[in-house]
Amino acid sequence: MTPVVLEVPRMLRDCTEGRPSVAIEADRLGAVREAIRSRWPLLATHVFAESGALRPHVLLLHNDRLVLRGPPDDVRLDAGDRLTIVQAVSGG
């Protein structure tokens, strides 16, 4: 598996023992959810809906690029890649 860095928003850092970023192991984007869920189940509950998709107002960035909600589960992750969880800009 590939070690990548997961950056956690301030509101959810009590789910990661206060850490602003944590290391997870995932070799492709499609494996990120399971990697979070197995190590940080509280964080996974806040980030993913019951369907397994990202919650409607949650975004995931891969090396600062937005991961679109649907497909790219097969996008390969390289060691040291950065994944960032952010709240989408919603409302007025």
């Binding site: 789910c15 509950t45 806040h46 809906a49 019951e50 409607p56 107002h57 949650v58």
Partner: protein
């Protein structure tokens, strides 16, 4: 005998704590807590004033339970569901937290409507699937606040006997600890606007209270909807004397029938807060008013919470009024514009606490020696 009261106020942005002096006239406000979270439900510990269980949610980040044992300095989170197990419906909010009549037993009512139980004081939870699998469930429709299980009542004589209220569905009761449930809505006006024809699931219950000295007696604030094009409204406040099997209206002398909260004191004082109507959910003429009945709803007395203040065109949500256990009864409510009112004498006299908070969702009081 209790000598002080702690008042907890949950809002769309955080929770706030107020500590009273002995006669509940002076209140000291603590620092804001959980400010970025919506605090939907609260359950104070009856033995520890610094311990509080809350249901929190956020439009982006979802809902969980949180507990503090140090008055909010630190919090821990608990999941109601195992994220590894598939879920048939979303969990968007925790609407109600209640003690279950046995040591360590707690209940949580959530949206989408479901009931969870803990036997270890909130450390772990399981769904009461007998309710979720009620045959009427496919016809359950949400009210304006969502498909929420917002009221949980436990018979103090028999903890296997429970009632729950679900909007806009109805009342369900169990006598076997939640294995089987029966719809208990006879006498209530059906809510045809929800679009269902299921007689077990077409009633918009706003709040129910149980008379713990006579647990066959329950009181209800109902939606009081408009029934005809010319504005005829249904009744809004009901009483049951047969454990919710049948309901009869007790609001003949109330000027308005629509409202959300309804509370009952240990001394049998019943409190409601009518709003103008379904279509105009504010205090009549901008006057926050509590109506009190000392005889089970046969006669009502009006008590103005702010008779000389500027008008307040706001409302009160279903869990935003509460009572304490002291004598005379302390009555407390928070409004949709963030005002908090307190009475130390069963609603005869009132003060507005010197603060304006975010929209108030829930208010809870607990008294301590």
């Amino acid at each position: 005998m209790a000598t002080r009261t702690v008042l907890w106020v949950g809002t769309v942005k955080g929770a706030y704590r107020f500590d009273s002096d002995g006669d509940r006239r002076a209140w000291r406000m603590g620092p804001p807590l959980l400010q970025e979270w919506r605090v939907d439900a609260m359950l104070p510990d009856p033995a520890d004033p610094d311990r509080l269980l809350v249901g929190t949610s956020h439009d982006a980040w979802g809902a969980t339970l949180r507990e503090t044992r140090d008055a909010g300095a630190t919090w821990s989170q608990t999941l109601l569901r195992d994220p590894e197990e598939p879920a048939e419906f979303p969990l968007t909010r925790v609407w109600q937290l209640t003690r279950g009549g046995e040591a360590g037993r707690l209940y949580a009512g959530v949206a989408d409507a479901a009931l969870y139980a803990s036997e270890d004081d909130g450390a772990s939870w399981r769904e009461i699937e007998g309710l979720t699998r009620h045959p009427s469930r496919p016809n359950w429709h949400p009210g304006n606040g969502g498909l929420c299980l917002h009221t949980i009542l436990v018979d103090p004589r028999d903890p296997r006997r429970l009632w729950v209220g679900i909007s806009a569905v109805g009342v369900f009761g169990t006598t076997d600890g939640g294995e089987s449930w029966e719809a208990l809505n006879e006498g209530l006006p059906p809510m045809t606007m929800t679009g269902t024809q299921d007689e077990d699931a077409m009633f918009c219950i706003h709040k129910i209270a149980l008379d713990e000295s006579d647990p066959d007696r329950l009181f209800m604030q109902f939606h009081a909807h408009t029934m005809t094009p010319d504005g005829k409204r249904s009744s809004g406040v009901f009483r049951s004397d047969d454990a919710a099997r049948t309901w009869r209206a007790i609001d003949r002398d109330l000027p308005q029938r629509f409202g959300f909260p309804l509370t009952l004191s240990e001394r049998g004082e019943l409190f409601v807060m009518p709003l103008v109507s379904d279509e105009n959910r504010v205090f009549d003429q901008g006057r926050p008013t509590v109506w009190r009945s000392a005889d089970g709803g046969d006669a009502w007395e009006r008590r103005d919470a702010a008779p000389t203040a500027e008008p307040v065109f706001a409302g009160v949500l279903r869990d935003a009024m509460t009572l304490d256990s002291r004598a005379p009864t302390g009555v407390y409510f928070g409004t949709t514009v963030g005002d908090v009112f307190a009475s130390a004498d069963a609603g005869d006299g009132w003060q507005r606490l010197p603060v304006r908070l975010p929209r108030v969702l829930c208010v809870r009081a607990a008294s301590y020696d």
